[in-house]
Amino acid sequence: MKKQVSLTKEFVKGIWEINPTFKQLLGFCPTLAVTVSAMNGIAMALATTFVLIFSSLIISLIRKLIPGQVRIATYIVIIATFVTIVDLVMKAKFPELSKSLGPFIPLIVVNCVILGRAEAFASKNNPLRSFLDALGNGLGILLVLTVLGGIREILGSRMIFGAPILPDSFEPWIIMILPAGAFLTLGLLLGFSNTLTERKKRLERESLLNKYRPAKAVTEVKEGGAA
């Protein structure tokens, strides 16, 4: 059904066009919880992307074998397996990081983004496309978590990636690294991103309108068609 879509498009769309956090409004729990610093955000995004890529790949490979009635259960088992792998590897190799991400690694299982991509994309597309789609969505998550973590870290503890960047005279906004700060920052970012999208849409419509201004009748037809 999506055969006409190019492979590049399949990959790029996840980063912004259907960004999991900003556009699909999915996976808020990890987004909010772990982003006290940019590093934490990146680690969480990488862990999520790993799970997303491998579960999409596997699900896409065996999509024709899975009976429809038990597909969700199958997806959940596959996702849970990869999450456990990430959890164990992190505990073994990166104990510090695993400590600061705490119980949120296991919760990747119920991150709706992964199940969402499995159900909406991987179960209907070939492995290559599913891989690109997962990679794109993963990068989208990475983008949001890094920006969110960065903002909260800079304002909340004067640092970025653990290195101080704001002068000591700047009193850190402790609220930013508290739960409340997470809600406020994401709410504002989401609001601004929506406003920008609205603005872009309006400008596009206006430029289209201007283009056809001389012939008024055509404009109306065009506008009706676009809406």
Binding site: V110, C112, N194
Partner: protein, 190 residues
Amino acid sequence: MNLFIIFISAAIVNNFVLAYFLGICPFVGVSNKTSSAVSMGMATTFVMVVTAIVSYLIFAFVLVPFKLEFLQIPSFILVIASLVQFVEMVIKKVSQPLYRALGIFLPLITTNCAILGLALFISMREYNLMESVVFGFGAGVGFTLALTLMAGIREELELADVPKGFQGAPITLIVAGILAMAFMGFAGII
């Protein structure tokens, strides 16, 4: 006394939604009407208490004795999924009015990370059976509380002139941030 502290901690001080960010998806999705928020909260509380019992039993009597702790995540999530199905069936048989009130919310609960979070916290903090039940109930009450408060505020927001880009999820998150600040006032009472 210890049980009381666990309850207060789960319900108010370390509220699942406002302090641990668990269960945000239904929080943003269902919190636009008070009546459905209360129903959703009740359904979740019910599933949470049952999950607390079952996941405690599985962890303590199956996973730990057989050294299968690494199967924790898959087994918990499967238990939750089948539990929700089972609860739905039972409610349908036992009480039609209750089913009509909670029915449509039950499938949503499977993907509510608060439930899995609850199961994981129970095994991580090594609660006993009684503590697990109280913890599950407290978490459910806290979830209902946050959801209902939010719904009340959002009903009022309908009448407010929110900028276009901020309508829906963004303003909900900002209000949640303010609620979280208010809940910080409870810190220190345990």
